[in-house]
Symmetry: C2
Subunit: 203 residues, 2 copies
Amino acid sequence: MGLGGEAGITDGRLLRGARTRELVLRHAVDLASLEGLDNLSFGRLATESGHSKAGIQTLFKNKEALQLATLGYARRMFIDAVIRPAGSKPHGVARLRALLERWSEYATAPLFAGGCYRAANLPDFDSRPGPIRDELLRHQEEWTGTIEAELRHAVAAGEIADLDAGLAAFQIDALLCAANTALRMGDDDAVNKVHRIVEGILR
Amino acid sequence: MGLGGEAGITDGRLLRGARTRELVLRHAVDLASLEGLDNLSFGRLATESGHSKAGIQTLFKNKEALQLATLGYARRMFIDAVIRPAGSKPHGVARLRALLERWSEYATAPLFAGGCYRAANLPDFDSRPGPIRDELLRHQEEWTGTIEAELRHAVAAGEIADLDAGLAAFQIDALLCAANTALRMGDDDAVNKVHRIVEGILR
DNA sequence: CCGCAGAGTGTACGGTCGGTCGTATGGAGA
DNA sequence: TCTCCATACGACCGACCGTACACTCTGCGG
């Protein structure tokens, strides 16, 4: 297992690095969802992972690279927790419902300590151009793209009435993000709200 | 004019304080919408406003007090720009449309340099209990509450079909927040998207 | 065996942060 | 006039930040 891509590594040195890199990233991803990507710091990650600050820095060159690595790891966790499991369902409303179901668990249960990493960090970086914003936007479009694709399948199969798939995907993602922060604020009914509204959209 | 509440002050000392306080808050509000409330700093505000760091600190005691003052000032700006102008329209869909129209301008034009201050900071503080989160939640409920009230008026007057006003308000606010970050990411069509979806909700 | 390379450590540097002193200025009120 | 008080300032503190440099250790390839 492991999301670090350490599968094909035979070199013991690189493998050791990949292991601690993943161990650190596991903490970093929680911190990023709790307090934001730019509240990550080498010193803090070092203390909480039992390594030295300089050691962490050799693994992730500079802070921006650390942030990008954290983003990549979070994306892989997201795919494993939400997108891949839904892949067993057939295209259309079935897979769409599976995606939303997995997303609800993903946003509720402590996969990330602070909820969805995208919803937590996109508003932070939407006014700061740069590689991190670009990467976040890429993840965002990847997610809304999957929703939109399943909506198109559903329409093509006649499972739901004809609609603007792109517009509906935008709408659904907006609901999910709002539900994510509502959950953090103690609104336990947020998931139910999304469920009701989306069922209304699917008629 | 002025949002600092310096209207009834006759004491020259307090009046001078209120003036620079407002001058500083004007900068603080832009910074808070651009980079978040906790990226505010006394030193930076001091440099950009031409005062000394200690001088700013005497005006706002704590950093937390500075953040709360900034939140309060942003709220007053929001009310002046969005809620009050719509007050001239009659209750129901008319005022609701006016609210959304003003909100679109509010999120597009540079009233706040980084867009809606609430949408920018709520995801930041949703996992950090404390007075700032509480205040943000209060503003949020105040806003969704006004939307919900107009929806109820519209239903009662028979202007729109019967619906769950609370649920619809949650939905509309979700769309507005999503549109706000979409605007920052360069999606010029975001406002139009919201318009189309909301018109669908109002049938 | 040798030399290279990556992981990991220790140390230091310059900078910014929030916060706290002591103090000076200048209006308000006695 | 004298006292009080809020504004405003400069200097300073300890903490943390990101970064850089000079190491040691260890496993790989020639």
